[in-house]
């Protein structure tokens, strides 16, 4: 009785071993690649269901392609092999790649692009302003022209490199795209297909799509696993994680254990929000005095332990192509600041600084607040700190119920249109500053300026105006690091993925 059972068991085991733990992964250079993520869940990775933040888009981008993509050097032909701006018609024409198939075997054609452009008119896509593209017209199966409603400088980055193309044969007739969760909803043209998504545990499992038109992926499976930034370094050293974002203090240790560390661009900034709607902050001279009173270098040295770049009053980081080095720097000088404040008659003025802890690398928490408090006291102000939870702080800033507040945001590696959005948009991280007519005009105009050089001039000038009026003060740009084991050559995308996502998980690196 027992013998045949054992024999049978042994046979089954043998069969299991022969088939291998990962079906079909044998021909991949890297069978499995695990990426740690502190948040975990970034939504169902379809274009309409992923969360509206960078990591959510990245998870979607493994499955769906755009017309054009970017790598570490610049634009890369994706679904479109070639493109051209037709000035007379204010349109972009794209020559599409031939022989591209959707994951279900259907052929990709110009009709899919036309469909997608039409679809986002009815169902706005969170990452692309659908009012920019007026209409799309197909010319045969492999050529398409996108007509813009008005000149739009950042079209390549913000539309061509960002808009995921949907398969018409799947999405036609889908009326509620956000809740469309069938298996079909994840049919794209990208290099990977989703095998499993666990919302509760925050995990994603992708499998290589062999028929990818830019070459078969060299990674068989990609796994996103939830793990805090603090435990990720240990996971990397033990080999249970292949890549993760790591805090600056862990870098030396990790490099010592033979891991590769890559440093990102300084496209996130810690920002002192100033309530320029009320006295005395409504006076630009007072805001300039604040900038001179705050020693941004000490903030970097003490609060960030040197792991940051000192903030530029013009918002654009010094390692950006769009950085204007002529902006007023407001070098630290407590005596000058004090006499400026005295001259304005605001000596001893009560100022409250709002601060919240977020526990993320670079976030301006109490450490920064305490230093700013001391420095402003030195300049003759009566400062109090107030610690709030993040959501409350956000809502008070939105409602202008504050004097000074510490916030931060990214996106500074993307198209410089963020200068307009961070000055004029009615959003939390924006300064919402309309007092300076010249600045407003300039920021609106640059968006329609197609000529690169003219636009650069406008961006440079708006930085100077912004720094002169100081509607908000950038304190520093923290250093960002990712560590990985070298199996996949990860890199930071030039200008960030799509609209500027500063995550080194470009799908092209996995081919």
């Amino acid at each position: 009785m027992l013998k045949p059972l054992i024999f049978g068991l042994a046979l089954t085991l043998l069969a299991l071993m022969a088939s291998g733990p990962v079906g079909g992964a044998a021909n991949h250079e890297v069978a499995e690649y695990t990426i740690a993520d502190a948040t975990g869940d970034w939504g169902f990775p379809s274009p309409y269901a992923h969360y509206s933040r960078g990591p959510g888009y990245v998870r979607m981008s493994f499955i769906f392609d755009t017309l054009v993509w970017k790598d570490d050097e610049g634009y890369l032909p994706a679904l479109a092999e070639d493109w051209e701006f037709v000035k007379d018609e204010n349109a972009y024409s794209f020559d599409l790649r031939k022989g591209v198939t959707w994951h279900d075997g259907e052929e990709f054609t110009a009709d899919d692009v036309v469909f997608t452009v039409g679809y986002i008119q009815d169902h706005p896509y969170q990452w692309v302003d659908s009012s920019i593209v007026d209409r799309a017209e197909a010319d045969g199966d492999h050529s398409v022209k996108l007509y813009l409603s008005e000149p739009y400088a950042p079209f390549m980055d913000l539309v061509a490199c960002t808009l995921p193309i949907l398969p018409e044969h799947v999405w036609d007739g889908v009326s509620d795209p956000a809740s469309f969760r069938d298996d079909e909803a994840l049919i794209g043209t990208g290099p990977f297909r989703l095998l499993d998504y666990n919302k509760a545990r925050g995990t994603y499992l992708y499998e290589a799509y062999e028929g990818y038109y830019l070459g078969a992926p060299k990674v068989g499976r990609i796994i996103f696993d939830k793990m805090s930034d603090q435990t990720a370094p240990a996971g990397l050293r033990q080999g249970s994680v292949d890549a993760a974002s790591v805090p600056p203090e862990a870098v030396l240790q990790l490099e010592g254990s033979g891991l590769e560390v890559i440093e990102g661009a300084h496209d996130w900034n810690a920002k002192l929000m100033i309530n320029h709607q009320k006295e005395p902050f409504s006076d630009p001279e007072f805001r300039r005095a604040l900038a001179i009173a705050i020693d941004r270098e000490t903030l970097v040295d003490v609060a960030q332990r040197g792991q940051a770049v000192v903030g530029s009053p013009g918002l654009v980081p010094p390692d950006s192509d769009w950085y204007n080095s002529d902006v007023e720097e407001y070098d630290y000088n407590p005596d000058v600041a004090r006499s400026m404040i005295e001259d304005l008659g605001y000596e001893g003025e009560e100022v409250e600084i709002l601060v919240a802890e977020r526990g993320t690398v670079g976030w301006p928490g109490s450490r920064v607040a305490e230093l700013v408090e001391e420095q402003l006291e030195d300049a003759g102000l009566d400062v109090t700190l107030r610690s709030l939870d993040g959501a409350t702080l956000d809502s008070r800033v939105m409602a202008w119920e504050f004097d000074l507040a510490l916030l931060g945001h990214g996106g500074l590696g993307a198209d410089p249109d963020y200068l307009r959005r961070m000055a004029l948009d009615d959003t939390l991280n924006s300064a919402r500053y309309y007092e300076n007519g010249d600045l407003v005009d300039l920021l609106e105009e640059q968006l329609r300026e197609i000529d690169e050089e003219d636009r650069a001039d406008m961006i440079f000038e708006s930085q100077e105006l912004y720094a002169e009026d100081l509607p908000a003060l950038t304190l520093y740009y923290p250093n960002w690091y990712w560590a990985h084991n070298g199996e996949v050559d990860l890199y930071y995308t030039k200008g960030g993925i799509a609209i500027g996502v500063p995550i080194p998980l470009n799908k092209i690196a996995f081919l």
Binding site: A232, A234, E249, V302, E357, R367, E370, L385, L388
Partner: protein, 287 residues
């Protein structure tokens, strides 16, 4: 109350340990400036994340501040909040519970419903909400925590007073026309002593814990040192070795304080409640 409760607490091992721990923390808090040459917010010239040394007994944190100093000053905050809440809660409990028991009737029913309502309030959420409108500081924290934690004590005091007021000497005082304040102060409170202290210790323990928790969440006066805040900071750097002399001692200090209060409270309770008492040892002290 024929048992000498205090004597029993000091006699029991649990009580000794508890009082010793509380005493230790009080000494650390009171003599903080003597025990450390630094101020808690001072950015020293020693590099960040230094190991413990003769200059810095527990090393330095991310902002080059001395961790030992912060620990000492953190004890001040914890104990201030703990004792403050204990005193204030006891006061409210006596006023509400005591008078409710003495007056009875509608007045009693009203206060007991208030007690029920207050007990149902989720305190952390209320405090977060209040902190959004008022500037959190130590005094506000004491007021808030007291306002939310008096009902338990009030209930116990009321029950105890109800039995006390039927005692002979209280009835006698009443027949001689004693007013409620006289009854409460002269006859009820003295007999409430041990139970009152037990309630206070319980409230203090809860307050110390809540204060640490709230400042961990970032709801505290940023300019006041606190163990919760220290842990919040230390948590971010757990991948470095620094947790051993930053997170661990802070957690230990908080645990020891809570243990001190718990032990004292427990031994007090077992002295008060005959069912919890060890059989032989206290034979002579039985009721």
């Amino acid at each position: 109350m024929h048992v000498n409760v205090w004597h029993e607490v000091v006699e029991s091992n649990m009580g000794k340990a508890g009082l010793l721990l509380i005493g230790l923390m009080v000494v650390l808090a009171v003599f903080a400036p003597v025990l450390s040459p630094y101020s808690p917010r001072e950015n020293t010239s020693t590099p960040a994340f230094s190991r413990p040394s003769a200059d810095h007994w527990l090393g330095t944190n991310d902002a080059r501040q001395d961790i030992w100093t912060q620990l000492l000053y953190g004890a001040r905050t914890s104990l201030t909040v703990g004792f403050g809440v204990a005193l204030l809660t006891a006061l409210i409990s006596i006023l509400v519970g005591g008078t409710a028991a003495i007056f009875g009737g509608l007045y009693d029913r009203f206060w007991m419903r208030v007690v029920d309502a207050t007990m149902a309030v989720p305190d952390v959420i209320v405090i977060i909400l209040v902190a959004a409108y008022l500037r959190p500081n130590v005094l506000l924290m004491i007021l808030l925590l007291s306002a939310l934690s008096w009902p338990g004590g009030a209930r116990v005091i009321r029950a105890q007073t109800l039995t006390l007021k039927e005692r002979m000497h209280v009835s006698a005082a009443r027949t001689f026309g004693a007013g409620w304040s006289h009854l409460l102060v002269r006859h009820i409170i003295p007999d409430l002593g041990p139970i009152l202290v037990a309630i206070m210790i319980q409230d203090a323990r809860r307050a110390v814990f809540m204060e640490a928790g709230l400042s961990f969440l970032g709801i505290s006066d940023p300019s006041v040192m606190s163990w919760g805040k220290m842990m919040q900071y230390a948590r971010v750097f757990t991948y470095l070795e620094v947790w051993k002399w930053w997170l661990l001692p802070t957690g230990l200090a908080l645990s020891l304080t809570l243990m001190g209060l718990s032990f004292t409270g427990y031994s007090l309770e077992s002295a008060l409640d005959p069912r919890l008492r060890e059989a032989d040892h206290h034979h002579d002290g039985g009721i």
